[in-house]
């Protein structure tokens, strides 16, 4: 029954993915001539550009081009980079791991810091530690991740020399160096999410703790640890999970700029480089991949909601 639900949800996603693909393709279609002009190089005659355009199929109608592209994408062929000549798929596979590690590490920072601060604040609303967390979260939400990154680099890498300022080492190559390199970027990337998650956890836990059944549990004489840990947290989790899911999209976008600050050769850096060289297939590939990842993460969040909240499961 559970599997059936998942399959049904996946099928429901298809039209949405089609729409996403159409949007990405339309945006990059806005300048049909340029891909050919880029390949032909400077000083190419109009006839040469026309010939290349014809070879690439850029002179065919919009929807013919779209469905050709979509057909290729469906078979895993994302096209070839206009500048390096490598296939977009290969580029993504080689640059992807750095971005994924950064995103996951950022999410880990967000969830760990966010929920712990949120629980600390939410269990004692109005106290000094609560006010401290609220102010911290307001600043954290407003803090641009790349600026925090710059500050962290200046303090911990340039001045104190504790951690490296730039670069990325794969986790399989050298786990310790991986941790040393990923710590600052992950903190920079995850702090805004931590602030958002902290807010939500605090509000949600605060609400739950005011419920009648919590009062009953408290009057039964349950210790605070069991009270919060066993009864309150599970019921407070549902909105927090939604927030975490939304943060996944934010983090995916955020990696683009944080990678740039820390000189990490991931998908974001690749995308920014592709913009200056107008490498449309790379842009299309990365935009499509990130967006679909965001969609799938949100699906996973919905599934977790069903597990956590029977009300959602029934509807």
């Amino acid at each position: 029954m559970r599997l059936q639900t998942i399959v049904r949800r996946l099928i429901a996603l298809l039209p949405m993915m089609l729409l996403v693909a159409l949007m990405i393709f339309s945006i990059t279609y806005l300048i049909p001539g340029d891909a050919a002009a880029t390949i032909a190089g400077d000083g190419a005659t109009a006839a040469e550009i026309g010939r290349i355009r014809n070879e690439l199929g850029l002179d065919r109608p919009f929807f013919v081009q779209f469905f050709t592209w979509l057909g290729n994408v469906a078979t895993g062929d994302l096209g070839v980079s206009l500048t390096t000549g490598r296939s977009v798929g290969d580029t993504i596979v080689s640059r992807g791991p750095a971005t994924i590690s950064l995103g996951v590490a950022g999410l880990a920072v967000g969830v760990l810091v966010g929920t712990s601060l949120g629980v600390l604040a939410g269990t004692k609303i109005g106290s000094a530690r609560d006010r401290f967390a609220v102010v911290g979260a307001s600043v954290g939400v407003a803090m641009p991740n790349f600026w925090l990154g710059l500050l962290l680099v200046t303090i911990f890498a340039v001045n104190l020399g504790w951690l490296p300022a730039t670069g990325y080492v794969g986790i399989t190559e050298n786990p310790i160096e991986f941790l040393r390199h990923i710590t600052l970027p992950a903190l920079a990337l995850g702090s805004a999410s931590a602030a958002e998650i902290c807010r939500q956890t605090r509000a949600s836990l605060g609400n739950v703790l005011e419920m009648d059944y919590m009062r009953t549990a408290r009057m039964k004489g349950l210790p605070a640890r069991v009270l919060v840990g066993k009864h309150a947290l599970k019921n407070a989790a549902s909105p927090v999970v939604t927030t975490v899911g939304l943060q996944a999209t934010v983090l995916l976008g955020g990696t683009v700029i944080v990678e740039r600050v820390f000189g990490i050769a991931g998908l974001g850096t690749t995308a920014i480089e592709a913009v200056s060289s107008r490498d449309i297939p790379i842009i299309q590939g990365i935009a499509l991949l990130t967006t679909i990842t965001a969609i799938l993460v949100n699906l996973m969040v919905d599934m977790m909601q069903m597990y956590l909240n029977p009300k959602v499961r029934m509807s």
């Binding site: 300048i31 600043v139 842009i283 967006t291």
Partner: protein, 302 residues
Amino acid sequence: MTTVEIPTGDAPAATRPKTAARRSFVRRFAEQRVAMAALTLLALIVIAAVFASSLAPHPPNAQNLRNILKGPGSDGHLLGTDHLGRDVLSRLIYGARFSLLASVEAVGVGLLIGFLPGLLAGYIGGKVDWCVMRVIEALMAFPPIILAIAVVASLGPGLTNAMIAVGVVFAPRFARMTRDATLSVREETFVEAARSMGLRRSTILRRHVVPHVLSPLIVMTTVLAGVAMIVEAGLSYVGLGAVPPDSSWGTMLAGSIRYTTNSPLLIVWPGLCVVVCVVCLNLIGDGIKDSVGREARGKISR
């Protein structure tokens, strides 16, 4: 404490309750000290941006290569100079223009595209709602920066291009909020009454639905304006928004990173400006949220 509004004789009947509601909203907002402080600070920043040319002590791009990387307070440069000898304070003041303009553009585009479909989807429902919701879901999936990058790749770098893209990403958020708010207003008795009186749909929407949708929309506007500022700074930092000679806060940060060893303050100021603006916007949003509507009166003390 209740204030009894004494109707002035010549006020048209329809506008009287509306102005009374507005007046009590202003009163409730003014009672919140934090929100008022944020509003004042933001107003000062807006004024500084508007009158930048007369307030800034130096032109933002005036270089003086003999006077580079000076610390705060050195000969007429209150916050010092950058690596080209340009006055940091003046550049910060001009930078406010870019940030404010960027957030106005992004939020404006978002509202322009998102509001009407959201309103109609919520009010009409059925197939219109279904179609609008599918487009909303698809657009919501785009991380703002990714879509901005795709648009900039096609239209070329520039603040306006990037912010239009961010506006497009904001549109579904506005649309969804408008739709949800409209859905609940649609079932209210006064809307049903208006409908049974035979008022035209556009009249009902304008006079009875929109006023009730506005308050959550304004709160969302302040929050997204802050997000737009952060995205603008980020895009300008990587060179996809404002272009270098312009003194946007993002480009100022990009220009200063190489000089952090000797002049660490250079990267502090622009970021601090972003944080202050965004915190102010969020606090104003919270303030509005707490002063709107009948149900808010009881729970201001959060």
